[in-house]
Structure formats: structure tokens, C-alpha cells
Symmetry: C2
Subunit: 317 residues, 2 copies
């Protein structure tokens, strides 16, 4: 029996590397695809011409399938979509917007389209829009996040109950046992972000990788709920946001505090005090930076071990 | 191979019914124990003499093991503990306080002691205190909740990495597949609250049971973080709290808004607008009120089905 996600993307393992701003350029995407997963370029932090260059570099670095992730709120979205189609990208992950606006166009251009959701309502909108598969992302995930705050454990069974679409679970998954748990809950595969931030090929700044592997429980929190909720690593900037929120700061003040280009400053340029550092809760479980291929091997070995313990009698009751 | 939680409590299935305020009296505890799980009386909402009466009624209604849950912040804690020991209660779940204060005393009196935690730091304190087992409860759980907001999926592997103590997972678990997922993540058993609120034997008011089964994603949120974080079902009262929090209300104002006896008013007396309704995110997955024995049977059937799908080749990759 072939895994539905592996078949859909023509990959070996149903492990998707999340397309993250400032962390997932061609080196990471190509390394993940070469190791049997699906690498994604995170176009959300790329100017259109940078994306074109990154796509070409990925093509040169892997013969295997890879994709592009693009938030539909991207300001020059038409330019980005034109490049995605010009370059013949066969797998597009969209997020943060209405799945109806681009799905058909991309599919007519030959692409498989996946949309990222955080609730059942949007999962059903994806089905209506004819999306090929969905990623359902829980509250523990890094970066932008759903307003309902539904955790992956609560979300996946809910979505599986509502739709039979191919489903990848995201948020809180960094190991093979978490991958198996997600599949037991109803997912067909997983999307992993945080663990790949702490990979050798990630374009995250060395300083950011170092704080990610030092993170512990409670090192992240969901900030900026009055703007767009985002899970941040605690640092000076994040604490300023938190203090302002606790005293009831409203959107205008929060926007001013956030300013511009904070994510680049932190994650890409390595400013650990003033930068915005987006990462998932599961950073607490990660303690070293490894090559992407080793991460995938480890996850698959853990997955097989966890599975064999069930096939054995460890969980007989 | 016998399950470590089943052995510890001398029960059939490693399913613990959470000891919840206003919902878990003797009818529910006895029904769960009679069905092969572990029923707990929720002493947090009982005057000492009521607890004594409930213990005696439980003893009359089941020959099987049951326990008492008591939050260590209970105002007349000495009186409650005296009754627990006088009545020879053999299983005590403590929560919301320091596990060192009562563990030895209870154990010297013949009790097995379990403490509820929401982070690894407290799990290790439990180990130091000589607690017999722990419950690790994630952000999605109903009622009082950890400040780190770590979800069950992120929390269980973290705790399992830190300690080999017998471990029950709580928060977000209402089905047999979620139970298996929790065990794949490292738990030895599960504690289930929300699903038993919506049981025939639960002492929750009919009105409360009805809103629980009508709940959908986003129906709950984590409120009162400036006091003690608590997951509430949205209603008029909860919205007033939320609005106050969004404009930065501080502890004194929130305490005033909360007032006294709101939980009883809502959960026990059935006032759905002014009452405090504590429930977990997984309420969204529950759509009917059933006898506790049927709930346990369903969970075990789902568990075995999920397990057999893994033993088969559904998850071969």
C-alpha cells in the first residue's frame, strides 16, 4: 500500500519541509528532496527575482521533486505567481489567504496545489476550491498561526472527520514517533519546520540556529494576536511585545513596535535581541544542528522503531 | 507485558477519568471504575463532609479501585486530607501545588500518589518528592492550565525524555486513536476529562452537557492568564473576561469580574450565560452524551482498531 502523500508528490517519504521565511532557500530544499522528503522554497521572504534565482539553483542541485511555498498575502503576488508558472514549478504550497484565488490557475499550469489551514472551515474551503491536499497546522507551530489556537492533537482528528483529502499534519512534529502519532490521528504525512531550521543547510543565521537548539519549554509564546498571531521565541523584542500586550496595547501601537523587517533582522541577519524569531514549541526537543539528510534518516528510523513497538506487544492492553 | 498504569492501580485499562470540579461525583467515578478504568472523585469542588459522603457512596457503588483528586491549593486542605486518610483512600491525585508537601504522608498511609504537571520542571520535582506516577497535561486541556502553554504533543516527549516515571497524558484525548497517539509519544496511559463531562453519570448540569456537545473549534480559549490560566467555553461571562483582557485589565479587575462560585453556577447549576464553564478543546469532537461504560468501550475499540491498522501495513513507508 503506497502512502498517498508520497504518491502525490512522487517522493520517498511523506515528510515535507515547511517553506519558512528566511530559513528555507535552495540549499535546504534541495537537501531535503535529495534525502527523500519534499523540500520547499519559502518564497514569503523573497523578492520575485530572488525566488527565480533560488528556483534555478534548486533545479541545479536536485533532480527530485521540490516545491514553493507562498503566502497569498504576499504584496507582489502576481509577480511571484508568474515566476512560479514560468519556471514550471510542479508543487505549490499556498497559505494565509483564500485557496480559491489561485488554485485553478496553478493547476491549469500543471501544478499540484496544497493549502495550509488551521481549522476545519478552511479545510472545507480547500476541498471546494479543488486543492489537491492540505496541511493542517496546530497552535504549537512556529510562525503565523490560527486564531482558534487549536492544537495539532485536537485539530487533526477534527479535520479528518470533515474531509478525506490528503492531509499533512504540522506543528509540534520533529521526531519519527510524533510523525507516527500524527498518522494515528488521521494524517497521511507531516510537514516539519522547526527541526529543519536547525539544519546545516538552513539559511537561518548561525545565531538563530544556536538559540533554537538552546530553547526549552516556555521559550516560545503566541504573540501579536491583535494583528496576525505568530509564535515567537522569547527575546528582548518579544518581551517588549508581551509587556505591551499585557497592558492592553492596541493594533496601532503593536504595528509600531513591530516595525519593518524584524524577521529578516533576527532570523537571517542574526540580531538575537531586536529581531523577530519565529519558531515552534518543539524547539525545546531539538538540541543539535544536523545535515537535513541525517534529520530525515533519524526521523524515519524513529518512525520505524515506534511502529515496530506497536507491532510487537508494547501497547497490548 | 502488562501495562504499567493498569498494574499500578490494579485496573483493566490505563484510562483515568480526570477528577473535575462539579462534574465528577460518585456516580461517574463508580461507573468508570466498574467499566475497567480508574474513576476519580473531584474533591476540588467539595466541602470536606461532602467528600466523605461521596467517598462512602463510591465504595457502595463499586468494588473496584477508585481515587480522589485534590488541588493542593484547596483552602481546607488539612480537613480534606484527614478525610482521605481516615477513609483509607488508596489512590490520590494531587495538582496545583508542591508535590513535596503531602506525598510522603499519603504514602505512609498506604496511598499511591499521582501529581499533575504541565512542564518538565515539575515532573522532576515529582520524581524528587517520590510521587508514584505523573499526569502531564497540555494546553488543550480544560480547566486550569500551565503557563508555558505547551501542547500535549510537544509536552509528552519532553517529559518522557526527562524521566522514566509512569506517565499519563492529558489534554486533547477523547478517542482511542488519540490514546494510542499519546502512547506512541511516550505516555503509559491517559487521563480523560472533557469526554466524561459529557457522560450520563457526570454530575455536570444538563445545560452544560448540552453546550459541550455543541462546541466546535474555537469554542474554548485560555482565559485569566494574569490570575491562574483556565480554559473556558465561550459564553457571556467568558466574553466579558476576554474583552477586559484585550484592553489590558489587571488582576484586581479580573478577580472582581470573576467573583465567587462562578464554576458552580455554570457547571453545576446550569447558568450558561453567567457561569464559568471549564472544558477542553476536544469538546469539538464530542457530539453526544453516553454512559461512561459505553465511552470506555468505544475508546478501547478505537484503540484496538488504530493499533491493528499499524500492525497491518497502513503505515508502511
Amino acid at each position: 500500500m503506497e502512502n498517498i502523500i508520497s504518491s502525490l508528490f512522487n517522493i520517498k517519504y511523506p515528510i515535507i519541509q515547511g517553506g519558512m521565511v528566511w530559513c528555507s532557500g535552495y540549499k535546504l530544499a534541495a537537501a531535503v528532496s535529495n534525502a527523500g522528503g519534499l523540500g520547499l522554497l519559502g518564497a514569503g521572504s523573497m523578492y520575485p527575482e530572488i525566488l527565480r534565482e533560488q528556483i534555478r539553483k534548486t533545479k541545479a542541485a536536485t533532480q527530485l521533486p521540490f516545491g514553493v511555498n507562498i503566502p497569498l498575502l504576499y504584496p507582489d503576488l502576481n509577480d511571484i505567481m508568474k515566476i512560479i508558472m514560468d519556471e514550471g514549478i510542479e508543487i505549490v504550497f499556498t497559505s494565509a489567504g483564500n485557496p480559491k484565488t489561485w488554485t485553478k490557475t496553478l493547476q491549469q499550469n500543471g501544478a499540484t496545489v496544497v493549502h495550509v489551514v488551521a481549522n476545519t472551515k478552511f479545510a472545507l474551503k480547500c476541498e471546494e476550491a479543488g486543492v489537491n491536499a492540505i496541511v493542517a497546522e496546530g497552535f504549537e507551530a512556529g510562525g503565523h498561526n490560527g486564531r482558534e489556537e487549536t492544537t495539532t492533537l485536537a485539530l487533526i482528528p477534527q479535520i479528518r472527520k470533515a474531509t478525506q483529502m490528503p492531509l499533512m499534519a504540522a506543528g509540534g512534529i520533529a521526531t519519527g514517533s510524533a510523525m507516527l502519532a500524527a498518522m494515528v490521528l488521521g494524517a497521511d504525512g507531516v510537514q516539519i519546520g522547526t527541526r529543519f531550521v536547525a539544519s546545516e543547510e538552513s539559511s537561518a543565521h548561525e545565531n538563530f540556529k544556536n538559540v533554537v537548539i538552546q530553547a526549552t519549554e516556555g521559550s516560545t509564546f503566541l504573540a501579536l494576536k491583535k494583528l496576525v498571531p505568530v509564535r515567537l521565541l522569547r527575546n528582548k523584542f518579544a518581551s517588549e511585545i508581551e509587556v505591551a500586550e499585557l497592558r492592553g496595547a492596541q493594533t496601532d501601537e503593536l504595528e509600531l513596535l513591530l516595525g519593518k523587517a524584524r524577521a529578516k533582522l533576527g532570523m537571517y541577519e542574526g540580531n538575537m535581541t531586536e529581531g523577530e524569531l519565529e519558531i515552534g514549541q518543539v524547539a525545546a526537543l531539538i538540541d543539535s544542528v544536523k545535515p537535513a539528510a541525517e534529520i530525515i534518516n533519524e526521523i524515519m528510523n524513529e518512525y520505524r522503531l515506534a511502529k515496530s513497538e506497536i507491532v510487537g506487544n508494547k501497547y497490548d492492553i
